[in-house]
């Protein structure tokens, strides 16, 4: 059992300088994904529902780099996106959704009950719930509650899609890292 736990921890190990470089790369990627998402409208005409492409980067970072880095990454991303493409109120909504989803994802990841897609699904659902709570706070109106069932389903579906993609990404990042290590060993 103890052996197994150690193996899990060594899934991908980064040096701190690598962490900084990959973190910067992922911030840029999340930023661009947010922009791309604004450019391409999601084909389903439900208010406020997006695919959440940027969350792909956040979920991947959560698994590949680490919990702390994922938190920094999402906060930096939200501030950047809100300041360039949106406004302060947009930032409030994003932040509330992001904090909710990150908290749940971190807890579920620690618990190791779900795979990446399950964690991402929960994150997607909680993201929507968080935003809805914020909207209720801002508008002081409980009638928005009627959106909850719809948003739950949409969050689950988009979260699942993002989760499946990031699962593949994580696997390939693992292979790439392994190959890199092999090459380094060969050069020695």
């Amino acid at each position: 059992m103890k052996m197994k736990k150690q193996k899990k921890k060594k899934w991908i190990s980064w040096h701190s300088r690598e962490k900084i470089a990959v973190g910067g790369l992922m911030t840029a990627l999340a930023f661009i994904f947010s922009y791309v998402e604004i450019l391409i409208p999601f084909p389903i005409p439900i208010p406020g529902v997006k695919l959440g492409l940027a969350n792909l980067v956040i979920v991947t970072a959560l698994y590949v780099i680490g919990v702390k880095e994922a938190v920094y990454l999402s906060i930096v991303r939200i501030c950047l996106v809100a300041l360039t493409f949106g406004n302060i109120s947009m930032m409030m909504f994003s932040l509330s959704g992001c904090i909710m989803s990150l908290a749940v994802m971190i807890v579920l990841k620690k618990s190791e009950v779900f795979t990446i897609s399950g964690v991402s699904l929960a994150g997607g659902v909680m993201h929507n719930v968080g935003q809805l709570f914020m909207a209720m706070l801002v508008l002081h109106n409980r009638s928005i509650m009627y959106y909850i069932p719809l948003l739950l389903v949409c969050g689950a579906v988009t979260g699942q899609i993002i989760g499946v993609i990031s699962k593949v990404i994580c696997r390939h990042l693992g292979y790439a890292k392994k190959a890199e290590k092999c090459n380094a060993d060969m050069e020695k």
């Binding site: 193996k7 899990k8 899934w11 005409p45 208010p47 406020g48 109120s89 909504f93 190791e112 009950v113 779900f114 795979t115 990446i116 897609s117 399950g118 699904l121 929960a122 659902v125 909207a135 801002v138 508008l139 002081h140 109106n141 009638s143 928005i144 009627y146 909850i148 069932p149 719809l150 739950l152 389903v153 969050g155 689950a156 699942q160 699962k167 994580c170 696997r171 693992g174 292979y175 392994k178």
Partner: protein, 133 residues
């Protein structure tokens, strides 16, 4: 090496989680659906204050203008919809028409909520208030 925590059990849990979320959403939806009734009046909220109350039965066209933020709300044949708005996201304009009590159209950038309520609900709430007193 790959996705270290992938086992049959966790994969099964993933599916269970999805089903649970769907189930919860469905139950809440059923709950709201049961309470669905025809509305009688339209309440327009602006920045969490009541801006205007109009009857749903009469065809009407309300032009809302506050500091250059404009919304045109149309009531037609017992349905309410947002005809035009100069908000950036246009979500309120694309929103489907509403007709039952409790439904609402929200224009978040303008902090504007158009809500339908039925007379009964209001009196019920008042009764509760009286009891509470």
């Amino acid at each position: 090496m790959n996705t270290a925590v992938d086992s049959k059990r966790t994969l099964k849990n993933d599916g269970l989680l999805f089903l649970i979320v769907l189930l919860v959403a469905f139950t809440i939806w059923i709950f709201f659906y049961m309470r669905k009734e025809d509305g009688t009046k339209v309440i327009i909220w602006y920045k969490s204050e009541v801006y205007k109350i109009v009857p749903l039965s009469k065809n009407d066209r309300i032009e809302f203008d506050q500091d250059g933020e404009t919304n045109v709300i149309v009531i037609k044949d017992g349905e309410v919809y947002m005809e035009t708005a100069n908000c950036p996201d246009q979500i309120c304009v694309q929103h489907r028409h509403i007709r039952y009590s409790g439904e609402s159209i929200v224009c978040l950038p303008h902090r504007l909520v158009v809500e339908i309520e039925s007379e009964d609900e209001k009196t019920k709430e008042k009764e509760v208030d009286i009891v509470a007193q």
